[in-house]
């Protein structure tokens, strides 16, 4: 045999990585677009978490405007007594005594303009005070001015254009900016969801592999344990786990901090405890999904002829497990992973809602939805809609990326 002349190097076109990336659209078709769209969504959300302090227009945990400001609202108008010459535009307000409604957007704006503030609880009181000369000017919401001005038509006048920043997505029941809360909330959500899904995969997948591959008594016992976990309603189990873990987590955390000599404030401890508790609780809930799917897949793959063929050629059990069984499981694993992340976000919301997740002022989509839900019947739809859309977007990003990737990575499904 003329075996010496045989060239064994694979014939591949020598093109750059970026060119390869774009050529993927041709190779893989729709899957490529799905994967890349999912990837883009995830990258954008990741950027959002990193750049949160720069992107967010307001402090996410402090009231910055009137409660329930509709999306796009928040601009203020300046009202003075007719004939007033000193105050003609917002920049004139420094040092002037300005009447505002307590805890309204106007109050925060005026403080920014370094005016003196006199707060009233009713809007009528403000107008009354201005006519009586108790204050030199009024700053009220843009949409309120036309409602009350006609009554004082002869005595008061509106000067300048409406001013001040708007709340793009509105404010919540405490006057916090929803956009800022969403931007900062991505951190908590991604951290908890990704960590918990990773932990459940990290535990569930190896146990599933072992259980399915070894079979027999090991399989029975592990399946029994996992099924008993699975039989609990997910949220109830998460609540129980979180309740049990919370105190312990806090103690452990405090001990660790004491050992390494770092001092954290009570708030920081609370946030870290909340994150760890939620992560652990959710991880336990979703462990059985990974276990069951992986075990089922392993059982099916174990019966495949190629596994038997490998065995007949003397492959070691470890080789069979890691080179024949595991790679064939990955595709379904990726899909469960992305689905579980979406689920984990919702479970985390539930935990936060009953006070077992992150402590309340921390921005958190799930918590905001749970809280905002009660205002929906009153017509304040923006409290739930925008965090809800974000959850959908993140879940969609993970699903698209995950499923697309599983299609692309599976050589059986690619056209060559």
């Amino acid at each position: 045999m003329a075996a010496q002349s045989i060239e064994t190097t694979p014939i591949t076109e020598n093109i750059g990585l970026i060119a390869r990336f774009f050529r993927g659209a041709k190779w893989y078709g729709t899957e490529w677009y799905i994967t890349v769209s999912g990837g883009v969504i995830l990258v954008l959300i990741l950027l959002m978490t990193i750049l949160a302090p720069r992107l967010a227009p307001y402090d996410p945990v402090k009231p910055v405007g009137s409660p329930f400001t509709a999306p796009g609202g928040g601009r203020q108008v300046l009202i003075v007594q007719t004939g007033e010459e000193a105050v003609r535009e917002p920049s004139d307000l420094a040092g002037v005594l300005v009447g505002v409604r307590a805890n309204s957007t106007g109050q925060f704006r005026v403080l920014e303009l370094e005016a003196q503030v006199k707060k009233f609880y009713e809007i009528e009181e403000c107008f009354q005070a201005l006519t009586e000369g108790q204050v030199d000017a009024l700053v009220v919401e843009e949409h309120l001015a036309p409602e009350f001005m006609p009554a004082y038509d002869d005595r008061l006048e509106q000067v300048g254009e409406p001013f001040g920043r708007t709340f793009v997505l509105g404010t919540d029941n405490l006057g916090r900016d929803i956009l800022s809360r969403i931007i900062f909330g991505a951190r908590a959500v991604l951290l908890v969801a990704v960590l918990s899904a990773s932990f459940s995969a990290l535990v569930g997948v190896p146990i599933g592999l072992l259980s399915g591959f070894v079979g027999g008594a090991v399989d029975r016992v592990l399946s029994l344990i996992m099924d008993s976990v699975y039989s609990f309603p997910g949220l109830i189990l998460a609540i129980a786990m979180a309740a049990v873990l919370q105190l312990k987590m806090q103690q452990v955390l405090e001990q660790v901090m004491a050992t390494i000599g770092t001092h954290l404030s009570g708030d920081q401890i609370a946030v870290m405890t909340g994150t760890m508790t939620t992560t652990a609780a959710i991880a336990v809930v979703y462990m059985p999904t990974f276990f069951r799917i992986v075990r089922g897949q392993v059982l099916a793959i174990k019966q495949q002829l190629y596994v038997e063929a490998a065995r007949s050629l003397g492959a070691r059990p470890t080789t069979i497990l890691f080179r024949y069984v595991f790679p064939n499981v990955i595709a379904s694993m990726v899909v469960i992973f992305s689905v579980n992340i979406a689920d984990a976000i919702l479970t985390e919301a539930g935990l936060s809602f009953i006070g077992l997740g992150l402590p309340p002022p921390t921005p958190d989509w799930g918590y905001d939805i749970s809280k905002g839900r009660q205002f929906l019947p009153a017509g304040q739809w923006w409290l739930v809609t925008f965090p809800g859309l974000m959850i959908i977007l993140v879940a969609l990003g993970f699903s698209m990326f995950g499923e697309g990737l599983s299609e692309i990575l599976n050589p059986r499904l690619t056209e060559s």
Partner: protein
């Protein structure tokens, strides 16, 4: 004849089931000589595939070997440890399966399969193993560029050749081919048989060819063993067996092969059904279907013995 590579003595395999014990193989004795192709034929469920898996000790539970000896190169395989047995598979005895479409891992390249098999049994570096893999598939008539293809990129015939390549990778002393042509179309089958014959001559391979296809046996085998209900019925040189089948079952089997030169009336169908292996008929297991059964067949089981020089049969007709 040269020395036997494999000697099976009184092998028995049982499948305990809920309704009773199935005697998958019921006392089979057989010798396979170096360099020969032994055809193992019989109808579905007669235990011929079980034989193949039993030799490799890869029976699926609940199947288990309950008796007998499998002597391979002087060692009783049934006494080896699990680890010794594993090392023997692939290196000394390897197997070709019937469905080339599913017998390769869809996520591994052709090269990975061969390299892995070589490295499992030897100290070769990946480079050396790759070089050998390239030589191997070249010999099998697959272009070397296909070495890094995934199985789904190959045709059925090519996959089957890769499977042979895997079986040949370590110059195994014995190759068990379990229905290797069943899922191939006739043209690919013919190519495959040609190639297998060439390789057999070239490397002096010892092959156990398990098939229900009499044509394949006639094409390739040197000797033929006919199995029925877990027992050997007849064993003879391929020409003798086809020219002059002794056992009535073999005769029936050969008559039921469709042949273009036969008219419709000549194609004979063997009456009856394969026996119930849980409660097999007493005496000769074939007697309920046997056209030439005598009284003795109902009560006494005929021994499998040499009835004429080089011809073994289990039938009272040749007492």
């Amino acid at each position: 004849m040269s020395e036997p590579v494999l000697q099976i003595r009184n092998l028995r395999v049982d499948y305990p089931t809920r309704v009773g014990v199935v005697h998958g193989i019921d006392g089979v004795s057989l010798a396979v000589h170096r360099g020969e192709v032994l055809g193992l034929v019989g109808e579905s469920g007669c235990g011929k595939s079980t034989m193949g898996m039993a030799i490799l000790r890869l029976l699926r539970p609940p199947g288990e070997i309950v008796g007998g000896e499998i002597i391979f190169n002087g060692r009783n395989l049934l006494e080896l440890s699990i680890e010794e047995m594993r090392r023997l598979r692939g290196a000394n005895i390897s197997m070709i399966f019937q469905d080339p479409m599913t017998c390769l891992n869809p996520l591994q390249r052709v090269s990975d399969h061969i390299v892995e098999t070589i490295q499992t049994h030897g100290p070769e570096s990946t480079q050396e193993a790759r070089k050998r893999a390239a030589e191997l598939i070249d010999k099998l008539g697959i272009r070397v560029e296909r070495l890094d293809d995934y199985p789904h990129q190959l045709s059925g015939g090519m996959r089957q050749r890769v499977m042979i390549g895997l079986a040949l990778a370590l110059n195994a002393d014995l190759i068990i081919a379990d229905e290797p042509t069943t899922s191939l179309d006739v043209i690919v089958e013919a190519q495959f048989l040609d190639q297998l014959r060439d390789l057999q001559h070239q490397f002096n391979l010892t092959i156990i060819l398990i098939t229900h296809n009499i044509g394949v046996v006639a094409e390739l085998a040197d000797r033929v063993a006919v199995m029925y209900a877990g027992k050997l019925m007849e064993l003879a040189d391929v020409h003798l067996l086809f020219d002059d089948p002794l056992h009535p079952y073999t005769q029936g089997l050969l008559n039921s092969v469709p042949n273009i030169s036969l008219t419709e009336d000549h194609l004979q169908i063997m009456g009856g059904d394969p026996p119930d292996l849980i409660n097999p008929p007493p005496g000769c297991k074939f007697h309920p279907r046997c056209p030439r059964a005598i009284d003795r067949c109902q009560f006494e089981e005929p021994p499998f013995k040499e009835v004429r020089p080089g011809r073994w049969s289990a039938c009272w007709l040749y007492e």
